[in-house]
């Protein structure tokens, strides 16, 4: 970049600054101790070595030069300049950025740095931040990315950690290259010229404090404190919300399936209808609402930031989940039907047997919420889930309501429930707890979990 300034009566001074090598290439003399002297090859070598040394210390280095010209002359485009020297500016890495980068790597997020700095500066910063996660640091140095074949950039973008000497207009190209290679791209930025790339990125992240209005407007996320750590929290919460939706969905599908199965099997074998319409409504009211909602409020799994991100094309309920859901629902149904069978054997078909089935099924479903807290961790694995008081409240509250239904005569007659004996209660208890134990014991452990000791 160059600017023109008045210089005495008849002349103007043309001041240049820029990448040291480029400015140096335009110079043919140097100013040393106030005198203009020729710039020899040795001098150029010394200047380059000094630039490499400064850049190696993670300094941002600029070369400065000037030329004097007549007042009326057009600004020359930089021939025969006089070299003045190098300026090294420290742009210290902000606190805790290094830790944030490490946290990103742990969470399976790759980090890429796009910078206008020259390679040695970028290398020093990249090493400091451990951008390559212990692997060789790959830097693409290009000031003319637009002249490179897009398919080449796409292939390279998969492994590059740092894009150096990149002009802001190429950021969009890099983001698009990463996207076409199948990645989901989040980009942080603050400048006006980051706008297009922030908009193109799947998640544009603008800095709230230092960011320009343009950047803030096009971004999907604005970091209020300009702190990368916030992103980690956002990732954790985002993943948790998604996981919790899956848990709730899993619970709802499994429990509702168990109801259908109980009604269907009983009818198919000519065993009447174990539950009446109002009981079914009651079950849905009790089991679906409170435990389902509480599962959506689970605390983040302790491992949530140690896992790679999910495949964005994966459906929220995977095909293997359906198998598991059917199994769990089947276990609950089987236990309830067994209890119903006991009721028929003892009391014959009628409200008494139906009550036993109704109680087994409802309590079994409510208890199933505990199983749905984790796909991989059961009640028996050593690593416990963080407590979820909402769930405890929902489960015990629902169980309380269920007890009321049995004990309050008005409710009992509304629901068409008969009174039960102590033996009946024991059978109901067994039929409600058995599926929980079966489901917990058959739960698949997480991939690789077996390796840990």
């Amino acid at each position: 970049m160059n600017t023109l300034h008045h210089w005495g009566e008849a002349a103007r001074i043309n001041a240049f600054k820029g990448t040291p090598q480029e400015v140096l290439a335009m110079c043919e003399a140097q100013l040393r101790d106030g005198a203009r002297m020729p710039l020899t090859e040795d001098d150029r070598d010394t200047i380059e070595a000094e630039n490499e040394r400064m850049a190696g210390d993670a300094l941002r280095v600029l070369g400065v030069a000037y030329s004097i010209q007549g007042r009326e002359e057009e600004s020359n485009n930089g021939n025969g300049l006089t070299w003045l020297g190098l300026i090294g500016m420290a742009d210290p890495i902000r606190d805790r950025v290094k830790e944030s980068i490490a946290a990103f790597h742990k969470a399976g997020l790759e980090t890429v740095m796009i910078t206008g700095d020259q390679s040695p500066t970028a290398y020093a910063v990249g090493q400091e931040l451990n951008l390559s996660n212990g692997k060789p640091l790959e830097i693409l140095d290009s000031s003319h990315l637009n002249q490179t074949d897009p398919s080449v950039i796409k292939a390279l973008s998969k492994q590059v950690h740092v894009f150096a000497r990149v002009s802001p207009s190429h950021k969009l190209q890099i983001v698009q290259a990463l996207q076409t290679s199948g990645k989901v791209v989040a980009m942080t930025g603050d400048g006006i010229n980051d706008g297009p790339a922030l908009k193109a990125a799947d998640i544009g992240v603008a800095m709230g404090r230092t960011g320009t209005d343009v950047a803030r407007e096009v971004a999907d996320v604005v970091l209020e404190g300009d702190d990368l750590e916030t992103l980690i929290i956002a990732v954790r919460d985002g993943r948790t919300i998604y996981e919790n939706i899956r848990k709730a969905l899993h619970y709802l599908l499994a429990t509702n399936f168990s109801e259908i199965l109980v009604m269907f099997v009983a009818a198919a074998f000519g065993l009447g209808y174990p539950l009446n319409a109002i009981q079914l409504l009651w079950i849905n009211l009790l089991s679906d609402i409170f435990p389902g909602l509480a599962l959506a409020l689970e605390e983040p799994d302790p491992d949530v930031l140690n896992k790679p991100p999910r495949d964005p094309y994966e459906p929220i309920v995977r095909s293997e989940d359906f198998g598991r859901i059917a199994f769990e629902g089947g276990a609950i149904s089987a236990a309830s039907l067994a209890a119903y069978g006991y009721g028929i054997a003892r009391y014959g078909m009628g409200p008494q047997a139906g009550t036993i089935a109704f109680q087994s099924l409802t309590i079994g479903q409510i208890l199933h919420a505990f199983s749905c807290r984790s796909e991989n961790r059961s009640l028996f694995t050593s690593q416990k889930m963080p407590p979820n008081n909402y769930l405890n409240l929902a489960v015990f509250g629902s169980l309380g309501l269920q007890a009321l239904a049995q004990l309050v005569p008005g409710l009992r007659s509304l629901l068409g429930i008969a009174q039960i004996t102590a033996l009946d209660a024991a059978v109901i208890g067994g039929a409600a707890v058995a599926p929980l134990l079966i489901n917990e014991l058959t739960k698949p452990s997480a991939p690789g979990e077996g390796d840990e000791t």
């Binding site: 090598q21 630039n51 040394r53 830097i139 693409l140 000031s143 990315l145 074949d149 080449v152 390279l156």
Partner: protein, 397 residues
């Protein structure tokens, strides 16, 4: 031993992509050694279309701007306003900073002979060195001529005599031998690229190359092309541009050009891009030094020195000399003389040739210049392994 045969050797100009990569690799070695003679560096390079890949592992206190080193090499070679050029090419560096091995942080100039004995290679290799009395610098005549032609093609471009030429070119010379002596030029191929596909006409180009290159090169050669010599100049038609935008290149793919044009054996490992602590690089220089002195002393007309190293043993575990029946004394006696007069220990080679300090004392780099037009039998560089200073010792031996 075969006596009558044709042998073809190839050379390329400095703008050939493979050689471009060798020069970038060695320019990086130069840059490290200039600032830190104890630097360890392995630099490999590949180039394709407009992307240069540099993979390097290094242990040094010197900081090197890899892309800048590469861009300077590319500019110097002459890729300035081409599709592939020093300004607009993208450079991908894959860099691994290593911690230096304490054993390599010695200064050979301050070591005693006993200390040198303790510096051992970390590779197991067999290395060859060769010399023969077919050319002024004692390298085989096919590679001698191929280099001479390639250099001349480049010179014509740089001197603007044939300003239409682009930096990429190859030359091949087939020499017919009778009784193991160069007898005539059997065939010759010169491929040179031009900046503009339409200019000049193929006929003009062929005439120019014949006069300015072939005639000039063979002016003072004892064996000249005759009427029967098959000469091909751009047999595939005009080559527009050439260089990395047309074909890709890699470090270490031109081993025969770096050595003896396949006339003798050569080790499969690359010479360029390695610091002098790599035995597979420097032993090739020591073996050549010994072979050249044997021939210069008149002990044989051709001589191949074979050195085998093992990990952890400073001296070669085997030294073999093969003269193909041209020796004046038995090969075993030559072997004894060589063993007595030459130092083949890793530390000894580095010390006697000053290999780790040459880049800082040579103007414009040392290894980069070495990387084009062969590492042996050069007339334009004062190479320590090309001296015949031990021939008198061998003669009197």
């Amino acid at each position: 031993v075969k006596k009558d045969f044709v042998h073809t050797s190839e050379s390329v100009t400095e703008g050939h992509p493979d050689k471009l990569c060798d020069q970038i690799s060695d320019a990086i070695v130069d840059r490290f050694l200039e600032h830190d003679f104890r630097a360890r560096i392995i630099a490999e390079c590949a180039v394709s279309t407009s992307v240069v890949f540099i993979a390097a592992r290094f242990a040094s206190r010197a900081k090197v701007d890899f892309p800048n080193v590469a861009r300077k090499v590319i500019r110097k070679i002459g890729y300035v306003d081409h599709e592939f050029n020093f300004k607009t090419c993208s450079i991908l560096t894959s860099l691994k900073d290593m911690t230096p091995d304490q054993d390599t942080l010695f200064d050979e100039d301050r070591l005693t002979d006993d200390d040198l004995e303790r510096i051992a290679p970390t590779d197991q290799v067999t290395i060859f060195g060769f010399a023969c009395n077919q050319s002024p610098t004692l390298i085989p005549v096919p590679i001698w001529l191929a280099h001479k032609l390639a250099r001349r093609v480049s010179q014509m471009r740089l001197d603007n005599v044939l300003a239409y030429l682009a930096p990429d070119g190859t030359t091949q010379v087939g020499v017919e031998y009778k009784d193991r002596k160069p007898y005539r030029i059997h065939s010759m191929t010169i491929n040179c690229s031009q900046k503009d596909r339409e200019f000049p006409d193929m006929r003009v180009l062929r005439d120019d190359i014949r006069q300015a290159v072939i005639d000039a090169v063979f002016k003072d050669e004892p064996v000249k092309p005759d009427d029967q010599t098959r000469i091909f100049i751009n047999p595939g038609g005009p080559l527009k541009m050439g260089g990395p935008s047309v074909h890709s290149g890699m470090t270490g793919r031109k081993m025969a050009i770096d050595t003896y044009g396949n006339y003798s054996r050569n080790s499969g490992s690359a010479l360029s891009g390695k610091d002098p602590l790599r035995i597979d690089r420097v032993a090739a220089y020591a073996a050549r030094y010994a072979a050249k002195n044997v021939v210069a002393a008149g002990l044989a007309e051709e001589c191949e020195v074979q050195l085998s190293y093992s990990i952890g043993i400073a001296r070669p575990v085997s030294i073999q000399i093969e003269t193909k029946g041209t020796g004046r004394i038995p090969d075993e006696e030559i072997t004894l003389l060589v063993k007595k007069n030459f130092d083949f220990r890793l530390g000894g080679i580095i010390k006697q040739f000053n290999l780790r300090r040459l880049p800082s004392v040579s103007q414009g780099g040392f290894y980069r210049k070495l990387a084009a037009y062969g590492q042996f039998g050069r007339t334009d560089m004062q190479l320590p392994w090309e001296q015949s200073d031990k021939s008198d010792l061998l003669k009197s031996g």
